[in-house]
């Protein structure tokens, strides 16, 4: 309990500082969230959902928190190194947990589109997001409550009825500081009826210091809305990320999500999708490439509440050296969710005998007229395929890379934006070859 105690004290002593810089909407949710956190503390390995991800350990570092909202004085353009060429995108930046205003106007007043700071929007347009902020997250676990209690800023994207944003919205999170830092970020994405958007979230770190982030994202998709959300994590081994994504889909909405983890330290992504309107479709994919002592966990829950919905999941892991992969996928079909079709696939490659994979696909079904399946495999590269390629003059290393690349390809193909897909192909290939700038001799490719 010692770690919690410290944060409980910080909150109680500095509450006025936290609230000083924040919109009333953010502040009014704090008390209830803090009480919940205080009661339960950080999750331990006794909690089923955290059995394989020791989160308590991640909070042992003595982190600083930017409670006074001190301007870090960094130039986003200097720090950002991972550009996606040919991507028609409007980049927006978050430094640690503060939104950095860019020169271009982000609020388009005529169409009602808003892309910008959550704190600012909660101040200026509180009514527009009051029904959404923390509505889904309030049921979250103690990490989510911790985030709600401490959060001061993040990003907000609101797309009004019928508006289609053609260019990709790129939201880049840069992790950089002079101390070991704990960030609490919040993202709120609301797509009203028939709105459409592509959003790319990138995490990048340029840091010698240990960074810990809690990130809570809430997404509301109105009737017929369609969202492609791509998350790319390319940070470093000092970085811990505890991300929670809550999605609520109304009828006939489409949600397409890809979560790519290339380089990281400790990552736990919790994804919770609730299909409340009939005809909604959710497609979740994920790829994790891990080596050294990387830890990547994806915990997904899909709640089929309404009938006639479909969902699809595909998660792949490539684990090398002493890395750990955790996949925990649950499909929960409520009694009224008849005519649901839901499929879940999890495939994993273990490359060394020190790599560990924990897979736990789950089905919880309370309706009878449904089709539901899950499959999970753990294995290695096919020796026969390797031999076949070597016979034809392809060196073993190259053959290995080709096979791994093909394995990863299935997830990448799911990405609809051509420029991003091409970029990821290159990034992944570089990752396997050890040429990634942050790779510093990654071992996946040395063999």
């Amino acid at each position: 309990m010692s770690n919690e105690k410290e944060y409980i004290e910080i909150f109680e002593q500095h509450r006025n500082i936290i609230e000083e810089n924040c919109a009333p909407l953010l502040n009014e949710k704090r008390t209830a969230a803090f009480e919940k956190f205080k009661a339960s503390g950080f999750p331990t390995r006794n909690d089923e959902a955290y059995r394989r991800s020791d989160v308590g350990k991640q909070f042992q570092t003595n982190y600083g928190m930017n409670l006074r909202r001190i301007d870090m004085k960094s130039n986003a353009n200097d720090l950002f190194m991972c550009d996606v060429p040919n991507l028609k995108a409007r980049p927006e930046y978050i430094l640690n947990d503060s939104y950095i205003p860019t020169q271009q106007a982000t609020a388009d007043h005529t169409s009602g589109v808003f892309i910008g700071s959550l704190n600012e929007y909660a101040r200026s347009n509180s009514d527009a997001i009051a029904p959404y902020y923390n509505a889904l997250a309030q049921k979250g676990d103690s990490i989510v409550q911790f985030n709600t209690a401490f959060v001061q800023d993040g990003a907000c994207i609101v797309i009004p009825k019928g508006v289609e944003i053609t260019e990709t919205i790129q939201l880049v999170t840069l992790l950089h500081s002079n101390i070991d830092i704990l960030n609490n970020r919040r993202l709120l994405i609301v797509l009203h009826e028939n709105a459409k958007a592509n959003i790319l979230l990138c995490d990048h770190a340029s840091n010698e210091h240990t960074t810990m982030s809690t990130q809570v994202t809430e997404i509301y998709l109105g009737k017929g809305a369609s969202l492609n959300l791509y998350e790319l994590e390319d940070t470093d081994k000092n970085n811990s990320r505890l991300a929670h994504l809550f999605v609520q889909q109304e009828s006939d909405s489409q949600f397409n999500h890809s979560n790519i983890t290339l380089t990281n330290g400790f990552t736990r992504n919790a994804i919770n999708v609730t299909l409340i309107g009939s005809g909604a479709h959710a497609n979740l994919t994920g790829l994790a490439i891990c080596d050294k002592e990387q830890h990547t966990a994806n915990n997904t829950v899909i709640e089929h509440v309404a009938s006639n919905c479909t969902s699809n999941e595909l998660y792949k892991y490539i684990l090398d050296e002493k890395s750990t992969g955790v996949f925990n996928g649950k499909i929960h079909i409520h009694p009224d969710a008849q005519h649901t079709a839901s499929q879940q696939t999890n495939r994993n490659l273990c490359l060394t005998d020190c790599a560990r994979m924990y897979a736990q696909p789950q089905l919880e079904i309370y309706a009878d007229d449904i089709k539901c399946s899950h499959g999970s495999t753990v294995g290695q590269l096919d020796e026969n395929a390797l031999f076949y390629m070597q016979q034809r003059g392809i060196p073993k290393n190259e053959a290995r890379n080709l096979l791994m690349f093909a394995f990863a390809g299935e997830v990448i193909e799911n990405i609809d934006i051509d420029a991003l897909r091409d970029r990821l192909h290159i990034l992944i290939e570089k990752r396997f070859r050890g040429e990634l700038n942050k790779c510093k001799g990654c071992s996946l490719c040395k063999k």
């Binding site: 273990c350 005998d353 736990q360 089905l363 079904i365 309370y366 309706a367 009878d368 999970s376 495999t377």
Partner: protein, 480 residues
């Protein structure tokens, strides 16, 4: 085909047919659990000091534990002080005469388990256990000639204390879980099997468990040891009377498989499942585990679970020896308000170990049926291979079917596959049968039996027929 359908129909019209109560004078100790009860049970069974000490250790450990809540079950609170922990249907006098109460004989006859060897139709040796005591073991002498020990646990403790002491608690430690601790403290009777080196057991060994007395719990303990190069096929069956109160059954089964040995363990579990309102029924909390200690050893679990109000059972294999094999075939049927959380654990420790899991769940009525399984491949278990398949069939819109598999892989040469599907009987299949003059109810029986066939085929013949009948009975009235 027609004949077999008639059988189904005939059986489908019957409710739980083993629900009668036998009027047998039974020596029941007072309700409640404390150290003196543990001592009393030990004394009644005239046990050696070390076993009493073991029981007391387990009891003291149990006191420190809490009832586990992780299963996908809604377990009403159990008052462990309201249960009597020992019931002996053999009256003292008759024990001395070595004669069995004719009422008792009748009971087992009624259950289709003749205890007189001349009446036995099949090549099966039976150990019949009622409440806390083994009533009779048949074919003991024949087996003894081959050096096979097949007797009740109480007898084994008296006659072969060294063997029992050597193996008891080595697979399921009393610290293993809540119910293992409880069982280790108060276990009454069960079977003890020892197959010596190089012996192939010539007949099926079988234990029949019956709960008769009211307000008692049954805490059976079974220990099977298959020494090097031996083989045994063991069957287990269970029934209980219909009562409005719930009864507790917390058993431990330990199996030790030595080098090149093979053990086949089959269960047809038919405890009273409660009535259609969910009243009564047996709580079945069982720890079953086999340790494949020797190289090239093989353990196969087959279970047909149709009974019990609540089932909490995970027959497991520890694949310690190199090239050892574990198998798990299961059909679990739940109807009305039954709940089942069942599955297996395959722990791969040795090299080239293989395991297969085939689990078929069928839920009907308002029941909840879960598969929960673990496949663990440890760091040194090179070339481990596992294949798991879990299918669920839903009959009705108010039931639930759930799958919770865990895969912990610590080795790069492991190949692990897991598949699960959930569906209902398709309209097309039913229509096809209807077209050919097969009624809907019969058609469902047919389809369900076909669905479970993969598992039923693994059962010894007599059991397979019984299991097929049971499937139909359990699903009676679930069509609609």
């Amino acid at each position: 085909m027609k004949k077999s359908n008639n059988i189904f129909k005939k059986i489908a019209n019957k409710a739980y047919e083993y629900g009668f109560v036998s009027n047998i004078k039974t020596d029941i100790i007072e309700q409640g659990l404390n150290e003196s009860v543990v001592r009393l049970i030990s004394k009644k069974k005239n046990e050696p000091e070390w076993l009493l000490e073991y029981r007391l250790q387990a009891y003291r450990h149990w006191l420190t534990l809490e009832m586990p809540q992780w299963a996908h079950l809604n377990i009403p609170e159990i008052d462990y002080q309201a249960i009597s922990y020992y019931a002996d249907p053999l009256k003292k006098k008759e024990k001395q005469n070595k004669e069995i109460d004719p009422e008792l004989m009748k009971t087992f006859d009624k259950l289709g388990i003749p205890l007189e060897e001349r009446l036995a139709l099949t090549n099966t040796a039976v150990d019949a256990v009622m409440d806390s005591v083994s009533v009779k073991t048949t074919f003991k002498e024949e087996l003894k000639e081959k050096g096979i020990i097949f007797c009740s646990m109480s007898e084994a403790i008296q006659e072969y204390p060294d063997l029992v002491r050597k193996y008891l608690g080595t697979v399921v430690n009393y610290r293993d879980n809540f119910f293992a601790a409880l069982n280790s403290a108060v276990f009454s009777d069960g079977s003890f099997v020892y197959i010596p080196k190089g012996v192939r057991c010539p007949m099926e060994l079988s234990t029949y468990f019956r709960i008769n007395a009211a307000n008692t719990g049954q805490f059976e303990r079974t220990l099977i040891v298959a020494d090097d190069n031996s083989y045994v096929s063991y069957l287990e069956g269970c029934t209980a009377p219909m009562r409005d109160e719930n009864q507790l059954h917390a058993a431990i089964v330990e199996i030790i498989v030595c080098e090149n040995a093979e053990v086949k363990y089959s269960t047809v579990q038919n405890w009273y499942p409660g009535d259609s309102e969910g009243k009564g029924g047996v709580y079945n909390f069982v720890t079953k585990r086999g340790d494949c200690r020797g190289n090239n050893s093989k353990l196969s679990w087959t279970q047909v679970e149709t009974g019990s109000a609540i089932t909490w059972k995970y027959p497991s294999c520890i694949l310690r020896g190199d090239n050892s094999q574990g198998e798990f075939y299961s059909v679990a049927v739940t109807n009305n308000y039954q709940q089942a959380d069942t599955g297996t654990k395959m722990i791969h420790l040795g090299r080239n170990t293989r395991s297969t899991i085939i689990s078929k769940g069928i839920s009907a009525g308002k029941s909840q049926n879960s598969y929960r399984g673990l496949v663990r491949v440890s760091k040194n278990a090179d070339n481990a291979r596992n294949y798991s398949q879990c299918d669920s069939l839903l009959l009705g819109s108010k039931c639930g079917a759930h799958t919770f598999p865990y895969m912990d892989i610590h080795n790069d040469s492991a190949i692990i596959e897991h598949e699960a599907t959930t569906s209902k009987i398709s309209e097309d299949q039913l229509f096809y049968c209807n077209q050919r003059g097969i009624g809907t109810e019969e058609a469902i029986g047919l389809i369900v039996n076909g669905y479970a066939k993969e598992v039923l085929n693994k059962l010894p013949m007599e059991f397979a027929i019984e299991a097929q009948k049971l499937l139909s009975v359990t699903l009676e009235g679930s069509v609609g």
